[in-house]
Amino acid sequence: MKKIVLATALAALLPAAHAVEFNQVQPDKSAVSFVYKQMGVAVDGRFRKFSGQLAFDPAKPEAAKAAFDVDLASVDTGAPEGDQEVAGKPWFDTRAFPSARFVSGAVKPLGGNRYEVAGKLSIKGRTQDVIVPATFTAQGNAGVFDGTFTIRRADFSIGEGTWAKFDIVANDVQVKFRITAVPGK
């Protein structure tokens, strides 16, 4: 009997001993970028500022949680006139809607180091359900999350008026991220 209790206690303890929760995002080792097509030509850009909370334990991926805010005015389109334009009313309208927010919902392990994160993405006052595929890679004591998903800019009214047609700037925008996090103390 004693042995069984001990074994049960050990079994209960073991996962806890292995559990590592990555929950401190390191912004300097993280990146949020995007790729879109301009007259058939892939053009990329990025956001300089974003912040987020993350809690991921590789032993309990289903319990993972993530919330990210991207400062839309920190956009880098590669050209100053582009940055200015995209911050304006027809695009992000950063005065009224300074940030984009992603909040995770269910996390589904797909096997190996691949996961599928369902979540809600809010930009410019509009919220859409998104499915974000992500991979997790341990790098030293840090965990690196990489992923790419595609949104349609029209779903968020990004690029209105003269930009609303997709002949010059395509509707599909690929969002890429690399989030590095370390376990909290």
Binding site: Q38, M39, V41, V43, G78, E81, Q84, I168
Partner: protein
Amino acid sequence: MTTRYTATAKTLHWAMAILIFGLLALGFYMHDLPLSPEKLKLYSWHKWAGVCAFLLVLVRLAWRAAHRPPPLPATMPAHLQFAAHAGHFLLYALMLAIPLSGWLMSSAKGFQTVWFGVLPIPDLVGKDKELGDLLQSVHMVLNLVFAIAIAGHIGAALKHHFIDRDDILTRMLPRH
């Protein structure tokens, strides 16, 4: 020795002339436009036409190497003959250098050139803001020199026609 240009040489000359006037006008016009879908479209057209001009000048140089242009009139003084050759050399050099600088500038600014939206032209340089700004200045200065060289080219042709009264201008015309 023949004093005539081949029909191909004339066609290439005038095709280039039309293309270059269009490219110069479009380039100086679009540069100052506020950002709009129209501006992005014009930039793409300018880049596509620039690739055409570059390919045409290669064809032209190949044709010229195989078919020597007619000699300048023997009545022309040596220093003017030299100036004519130097002027033509400068025009060809700019016809090569300007599209190259535009292509590299595009790459450095992070906008790959995709010919007619179909054929991607490789980026020889990566995205690099400072290099992009530098190449933009290079592209602009070369075009200013080009505009001056073209003005000189036209002025010289008119001088040949109206002052020297030789056939330098007319021999480049069709049906001559």
